[in-house]
């Protein structure tokens, strides 16, 4: 079994950062287009983003809250759809021209 298949088995082992490294972004510094609402304990939906986000933008910090680093965001909207009912995040498009720039799409 390859490393990649192991990663699939656990769902977490693979480093998605290596994939994002290929992409072009124009980061809107200091103006993140996604923000997580303050929370003590994350909802199930919010917690799901730590694996469901295809860019690995969400992670759990040491004190148990979910944090987001959205520089690698692919703007798919998966996190927005998963948390639509719980309202855990505020999601907007990046300002015009900013964000991911697909070279091939």
């Amino acid at each position: 079994m390859t490393d990649a298949m192991d990663a699939n088995a656990t769902g977490t082992g693979f480093k998605v950062e290596e994939k994002l490294f290929q992409n072009r972004y124009l980061v809107d510094v200091g103006r993140p287009h996604i923000t997580i609402k303050p929370h003590d304990v994350p909802s199930k939906a919010l917690l799901a983003l730590t694996h469901a986000c295809p860019a690995g933008c969400y992670s759990k910090n040491d004190s148990g809250q979910v944090e987001a680093t959205i520089d690698g965001c692919l703007e798919c909207g998966t996190c927005r759809v998963i948390t639509a009912k719980t309202g855990d995040i505020e999601w907007n498009y990046p300002r015009g021209g900013f964000g991911v720039l697909f070279k091939f799409g």
Partner: protein, 434 residues
Amino acid sequence: MIEERFDAIVVGAGPSGNAAAYTMAKAGLKVLQLERGEYPGSKNVQGAILYADALEKIIPDFREDAPLERHIIEQRLWTMDEKSYVGMHYRSEDFNEERPNRYTILRAQFDKWFSSKVREAGAILLCETTVTELIRDGAGKVTGVRTDRDGGTALADIVILGEGVNGLVGQRSGLRPELQPDSVALAVKEMHFLPREVIESRFNLKGNEGVVIEAMGTITDGMTGTGFLYTNQESVSVGIGCIVSDFAESGKTAYGLLEAFKNHPSIKPLLENSECKEYAAHLIPEGGYHSIPELYGDGWLVVGDAGQFVNAVHREGSNLAMTTGRIAGETVIALKHRGAAMSKANLAAYKRTLDETFVMKDLKKYKRIPALLHRNKQLFGLYPRLLTAAAQTWFRVDGVDKRSKENAILRSFRKGRTLSGLIGDAFKLARAWR
């Protein structure tokens, strides 16, 4: 921001928005198109297959200068388990025709080209401009849009929303409900570059011939979804997608699935020594007919993915997008020529026309399929395993007589799914398909 008043504003410069803007501009309407990306295509992701028929009805001579990759001469449908696939392949010299039927494309290049045609036809395109909300008059009719360009506004008789699957403008304006996690898929894709002669020898192609592989089975690890591999001129698009709620509940990652798919013994040799140059993700509306929202109202129309126009069974979307965009444009032109108002009652012609096309007919035909696929995970795990095992039993020559092999295969299906389960699945599938 813009003083003059437009006949129409189109939100988005993907296939549906471009089809609508082109159709209207070509007929002499004053069209403003707004796109949030740096250039048309910079935010857009697709497999991608272009279906010639839908584009021919808009730009008949598109083949002269559109950036097309390869025309498809072979379709491979694979049912996979961890080590094998059972395939149904169709390849025909008939697809090497003067006006090929389907092409692979790269959306960033293709959308730029389509957009250049829209501008040649006379539409005004503003990129790097995100529409933030709709403007309405006292009676609730949509009269324009507000953008993030200094909060500037633009006014028109009609706003056509081709804002894509994750279209916030229409949703936040209450024109359509929020996407449901169980009726939208998340797909991820990588672009793997290889010399064209390598692609041609690996896939048995010459010139600009291309191959499409669509795959299902254990590659989605028990979730509802499919994988794909498309040949471009000097690259291969490889990707996999599953329903969002399946990702949310299973704890699995899309990139983990993609890595495993790429490393499948049937896929890995096809990608060997390639250089990956991009990783993309996108949502696909897969709810089908029952998920189609309100498509028109006073001063607005919805086209493309924003209207859930995807035929998930046949992996068609861009042709539905272009067709809905074109018909939306034609509806507006007809009203304009009659001097009629862009009212809800008059715009109902859009839906009536769509009902008579393949767009609505196909979505209606398969209206039960999305729920069936979502609720019957055995189609993605158990059956692929049973099928591949049966194939191995059948093809392996080991001194066992053929009657015993037949019986062993039948027993494996009964044991795996029970006789009533098998009959029930066949019935459900037949009912959903017809």
